[in-house]
Amino acid sequence: MIFNFIFGRRKKQRKHRASALADLQLGESAILGDMELALPVAEHLMNLGFVPGLEVTVARSSPGGDPRVYRVEGIEVAMRRDLSRHIHVELLGAPAFGD
């Protein structure tokens, strides 16, 4: 059972290795990648600490599931799905399971 569970997870992670911030579940972490956003918006996020290469965690969710609060280096920022959809992330841990 546990074996299955781990395997199931692994498969799922593999399938979504490169996905968007919006696809992460509450509590999950990943590495920030590129942002496909208008320059001022991307710059603003970077000034807040959302810099590609850093670890991001889905920290909280508002009652409706959108917006959600993301944490990077201790800074928590709320944004809606319409932005987080355009922020690429690289899932953590996937390589650790071995390919």
């Binding site: 996020l45 201790g74 709320a78």
Partner: protein
Amino acid sequence: MTCHAVARPREEALGTSYRTIAVVGPPNSGKTTLFNRLTRLRQKVGNFPGVTVEHHTGYVRDSEGHEVALIDLPGVYSLTPKSEDEKVAVDVLTGQMPGTPHPDAVIVVLNSTNLHSHLVLAGRVIALGLPTLVLLNMADELRKQGGHVDVLSLARQLGTPVALVSATTGEGIVAVQNFLSSATASPEPLELPVVGSTRGYREWAVKVGTNAKYRRPATPVWTQRLDSIFLHRTWGAIIFGVVVVGVFQTIFAIGQPLSNLLQHFLDVSGSQIGNHLPQGMFSSLIVNGVWKGTGSVLVFLPQILLLFLVIGILEDSGYLSRAAVIADRTMSRVGLNGKSFIPLLSAYACAVPAIMATRTIESKRDRIATILIAPFMTCSARLPVYTMVIAAFLPNRPVLGVFLGTRALAMLGLYVLGFLMAVFTARLLKSSILKSKDAPFILEMPPYRWPTLVSLGLRLVDRGKAFLYRAGTVIMLVSLLLWAATNFPMHRGQPPAVQDSVVAWVGHAIEPAIRPLGFDWKIGVGLLTSIAAREVIIATLGTLNGIDPQSHAVDLQAALKHELTPAGAVALLVFFAFAMQCMSTVAVVRRETNGWKWPVLQFGYMTVVAYVAAFAAYNIVGHFIH
């Protein structure tokens, strides 16, 4: 005349000193707290980004006694402004703000618990080439949460003085005095090896931080714990609702008895004064004009203070930002976003600062929409009117035990009514003249902080003073004018009966317009005077009531029952919920939108809505209750 003639001779002798220093930094880093500590002023501080939206100047003395102007600025994340408040900061910093001198030095206030991001801004400011002092604020939090930074190393790398400080405790603040005295020392410009892009700056900042052995503190445990409740997927919304309902019950359950006590005191002292004055015009002026008029507003001081206490706790604790996240979904339905929620919530205190606070909204159209709907939020000036009318017509019975009574429920209903009209109007605006694509919603969550008793206490003192000042100026003036008008034209040296006075004459003139709403001439006069400010209607009714022999003996609530039918009372409440009776609001909208177009439109719209809704309420309610 040459330029030399205007040079300041004393300073030439003593060497130069800074004359104007700008305080810049990211939002919520403690700039205003520092500014207040240094200048002994009391500008508004709060635990959410975007508290300061204007530049404020205060003065400090350097060790030689020279006065130095310190300018507190709104927070900025970069030197490319995206909103009005950021534009103010950047304009002042770069000397482009009319009426403000170009600063000759800068104090950068950073949050030391978030150094990597904040050093980016420091780098950009240092690159401007002005003498700069870098303060790493919140040293207390850094230490408590196990963070560390080597200040000397930072100073070496940045080429500026750097100090670890705490603006709240005062730790390390001497650095500012040292900086002021160092003005004579020739600055040693240091070429910072930075590239222009944000990413380049960030890489530089991380390198500088790493060299200075920066260890980021752990995320505060309490913030984690509280957020796991306040931003819980199900509990979050429920707690939000409980907070709101609790506020109303508090205002009634605690505020009302205090108000009654104050009322009793004012009544007794009023009749004491009356007894000591010789009978006649003068006694009537003091007792009926001033005391009854102004006093009837003064009794609401406890309720107003309670309201401000609650808002103060929300603002200082950091919950406000969470509330904005929870509210974002609702706001998005009407085309706005959670950013608009913060000014709207502060509009519960007063629309004027709320309209100023819209400066933080990046989208111009969203900002105008928020300005236009802000006066629908129930401000503290409506509170006395609501309380008085509700208390006069509605007996208090428990609805949910001690938690909610009928009066608190009615009050809550009026707040909801104003909110719904705001939402409806926003929807209307955002789907027509102010249509725009959804603006991005990005909001930083500050850590929770304990609201300090001192800061809450000072807020209440300031608020109380402002309320008393208003009672002592506008409201007293209106009371006096009204008293005068009720005493003219004199009839054989005797004041006329109220019905024959100038006031009644004016009141009767507008009566046909307001009769359909169930209001008589006295209420009409109240509506007229309340254009100056809403709560003036109470002073007006207080004065008219004090003078009218028919109602002289009874208190204002009892007199009101005489004046209005229950349906008329509902109509009055509805009218006050929607009408824009506040000249200060009109003035601030004009200033913030740079013209008369929006305030005129807003005033017209709100008046029409108020009239129509009051008319409907009077007729519908009148149909059921007689």
